[in-house]
Amino acid sequence: MPVNAVGREIPETIAGKPVRPFQGAFATVPQGHRVGGPLKTTRPGAGKLAPSLEEAIRRSGLRDGMTISFHHCFRDGDKLVLQVVDTCARLGIKDLRLFATALFPCHEPLVRHIQDGVLTRIEGSMNGPIGAYVSQGGKLKEPPVLRSHGGRWRAVACGEVKIDVAFIAASEADPYGNANGIHGPNACGPISFSVIDSWCADHVVVVTDNLVPYPAVPPTIEQGYVDQVAVVDQVGDPAGIVTGTLRVTRSPTELRIAKLAVDAVAAAGLIREGMSFQAGAGGTSLAAQEILARKMARAGVHAAFAIGGTTKYLVAMLKEGLVRTILDGQAFDGEAVESLRTNPRHQPITPGFYADYNSLGCATYMLDFAFLGGTEVDLAFNVNVNTHSDGQLLHGIGGHQDVAAGARVTVITMPTLRGRVPMIRDQVATVTAPGEVIDLVVTERGIAVNPRRPDLAEDLRRAGLPVRTLEEMKAAAERLVGKGKSPIFGDEIVGVIQWRDGTIIDVVRKVEGWA
């Protein structure tokens, strides 16, 4: 079996299709041209409003074996995926490929549709129960493919994934198909994940619970790409956007990690006028943002821009003038949505603008530094965000790969132990991001610097920061809990982890036992 550039054995074909193994973060030279949807036209006076979602599905021409797509901007509050798949099941459509940008615990009822053969393939991130379910193996016709935000955009734009019918949940839409996610009672933030779907799908259905007279503005999704508009009672519950730990941690350990992370970028000289950063929405990242904001205010410097996942904490920095522009791919709370509506410096962006590998510009390439999490890191600085140490596929990639590859200094923050499970391993269970794009790993025990960055090691030491090797921190954690067993992986592939350029960086295999 061929071994890729991070030492993982990758089969030559997966589900009958040839595989390109990962060769390096920027090794792939793209070939060919962008694809688009079919050419269509309309006449004055022609309407698009479907009488019901069911009728819209019928008129879309959706048949067995096709691919349907969704965005995840409602996160755990999404109500569209289940409505559509339930309706497909009722209509007797089966063998569908589900191509959502991400799935959440609220989508657990999809398990029944997998069992009944309505869904036989999934592509996209899986957070929680669906991931745990497919990790058991034998559930899907083809192993699910997980991509980063930028990777998914690329896959659609280059024709790697052909979407038959795109369903786009919108908190506001007009009968002509213009749609956005920032207005309406159930506003969820920019729905720009779906822009590429609208451009490339054979058929596009905008689904809203808030139909407004023409024109709905801003038209994140444009009329020219929309075949039908359907109205339902509710497309999503914005309360579900706030999933996970979207508030600043009070854990002394996580706060220590956050403080060390900020101290590290400060020591690297990155807290300066015109700086830029991405900070995630986990508790530690949010704490780091707060500490960063205080440090910036004290130093009297301003960030030219920050990229979100946006929360109220980043919005506060925008309001205070500490951040001049937010480039926002995804809103994580109501304050972020409100800011998108009212502040012109809070700019929604598409994943294409953010991180498309096959493009001449990515916002992530302009980042000075980024704080990212992970479930595990190994001694080669490879990071796992998809599986836990037990090999269960529980998390999506999100923008992790895109940001890690782009930022000048990528900082991974994680404790050395979660419960009694050590987070620094000889080898991660799954490689999501290769060590070559990771610069620092910050734990409560200190900061590990990738040997590729002796310049950073020097900066940190000069600032008196606790520079430790990953080996030292791993040993300190294992002194308390031992090594534990690792999963034995079988042959069956239950998940495919794509690098953002479309090569395969790792596959997740079914766990057969422990050793």
């Binding site: 220590r256 037990d390 009694r420 308390l480 809990v481």
Partner: protein, 397 residues
């Protein structure tokens, strides 16, 4: 060792384990681990090893593990065994020391003393990385009366296992007549550096504690003499502070506790109301040649307030301050660090003194002021602290 009854110890909270032991024939160990099969066998081994240590031949043991480290599981097994057998001498034997540890100097830096509840596995889980000058594992106020026995075992295992780097390790025991003696018998086997004596009111308490320590050190062959930090937290204690500080060579620091003091006196917790007591305590400590450490600052959210109170403590002559949350450590350390101006002054004084000595001059002056012995000592202390903190101190010192 024979089990007389069924007993449980621990909790199912994060980082802890609930252990149930029952008398039985042979050893049966059932483990339910939060991390699934990853640590199943290892946890069983930890339980078996602990049972073997106490010579338990017949027991049925059930463990519900929720992220507990090895030593926490062992401590919970010990506590359950002690409860099932009635305890006794076997449970006092010191543990092999896994952590590396060295004796500490009488006059080392003690800017911060962090209280961590001794019975709470979750709060102890990351205690290695907090980095206070002094860590106080608390068996007194922070532990419920019914959990003191289990907390002793957890504190002992934590001390023996975890590597706290340069932090000085203390145990706050209960008053000697209320469980403190049993606290000592168990925890000294974890090799702390010192013992905090709460509610110190008379020198007799200190000499009694010193005697007990002397006896335990001899019996168990402990590697160093344990220090004593009396905590003065009553008007009677404040009045006796000098005698308390002088009562034993082991006393290295007097700590002030404002909470009980204000209650007994009936005063507020304001700087004004506490000024006399704090100043008196500092004077008593310094007269006895020991350090003084101020009371804790109770509001974790109020960093500005913490800094103000810490600065006031420093200005009164305290050498350190109590903290109740790891987040307070940095502020306290920053306030107690000498400023660059102070370091420059100290360097100037020491250099002037050295120059005067070379020239055989009796009287030394610096910046027009006489440098007498106390001034020179203060300057040297400032430089030593600056050096210990890795500050730039120039060539003198």
């Amino acid at each position: 060792m024979r089990l007389e009854r069924e007993a449980i110890a621990g909790t199912e909270e994060r980082s802890d384990a609930l252990v149930r032991v029952r008398p039985g024939e042979g050893l049966t160990i059932a483990v339910r681990s939060k991390s699934g099969p990853m640590y199943q066998e290892r946890i069983e081994a930890v339980v078996r090893e602990t049972l073997t240590r106490y010579g338990v031949g017949g027991a049925a043991v059930e463990v519900i593990e929720a992220g507990a480290y090895d030593h926490v599981i062992a401590a919970r097994v010990e506590a359950a065994l002690a409860r099932a057998t009635g305890g006794g001498e076997a449970f006092h034997q010191p543990l092999p020391l896994v952590a590396t540890r060295q004796a500490t100097a009488r006059d080392r830096l003690r800017r911060s003393r962090l209280y961590v509840p001794g019975g709470n596995a979750r709060l102890l889980a990351f205690a290695e990385s907090f980095g206070p000058d002094c860590l106080l594992l608390d068996l007194e106020d922070a532990v419920a009366p019914g959990e003191k026995d289990a907390a002793r075992f957890l504190v002992r295992r934590t001390l023996a296992t975890m590597d706290f780097g340069g932090t000085e390790l203390w145990v706050r025991i209960n008053p000697l007549d209320r469980g403190g003696r049993e606290d000592l018998r168990v925890v000294v086997g974890g090799r702390p550096h010192g013992v905090c004596l709460p509610k110190a009111e008379s020198p007799v308490q200190v000499t009694e504690l010193a005697g007990l320590l002397y006896e335990l050190e001899g019996r168990y062959g402990l590697p160093w003499r344990l220090w004593i930090m009396p905590i003065v937290e009553s008007p009677r204690g404040v009045l006796a502070a000098f005698d308390i500080a002088q009562a034993s060579e082991r006393v290295v620091c007097l700590a002030f506790g404002a909470e009980d003091y204000t209650r007994e006196v009936g005063c507020s917790r304001s700087g004004e109301a506490l000024l006399w007591a704090r100043s008196h305590l500092v004077a008593a400590a310094k007269a006895a040649g020991v350090q003084a450490s101020d009371t804790v600052f109770p509001d974790v959210e109020d960093e500005a307030g913490l800094r103000v109170e810490t600065l006031s403590a420093r200005n009164l002559g305290f050498d350190g301050k109590g903290v109740i949350h790891p987040l307070q450590i940095d502020s306290v350390h920053e306030v107690f660090a000498p400023s660059p101006d102070e370091v420059a002054w100290a360097r100037g004084v020491v250099e002037a003194a050295e120059a005067a000595e070379e020239q055989g001059l009796g009287a030394v002056t610096y910046q027009g002021r006489l440098v007498d012995r106390p001034v020179l000592l203060r300057a040297k202390r400032t430089l030593a602290m600056a050096q210990a903190l890795g500050m730039e101190v120039g060539n003198a010192g």
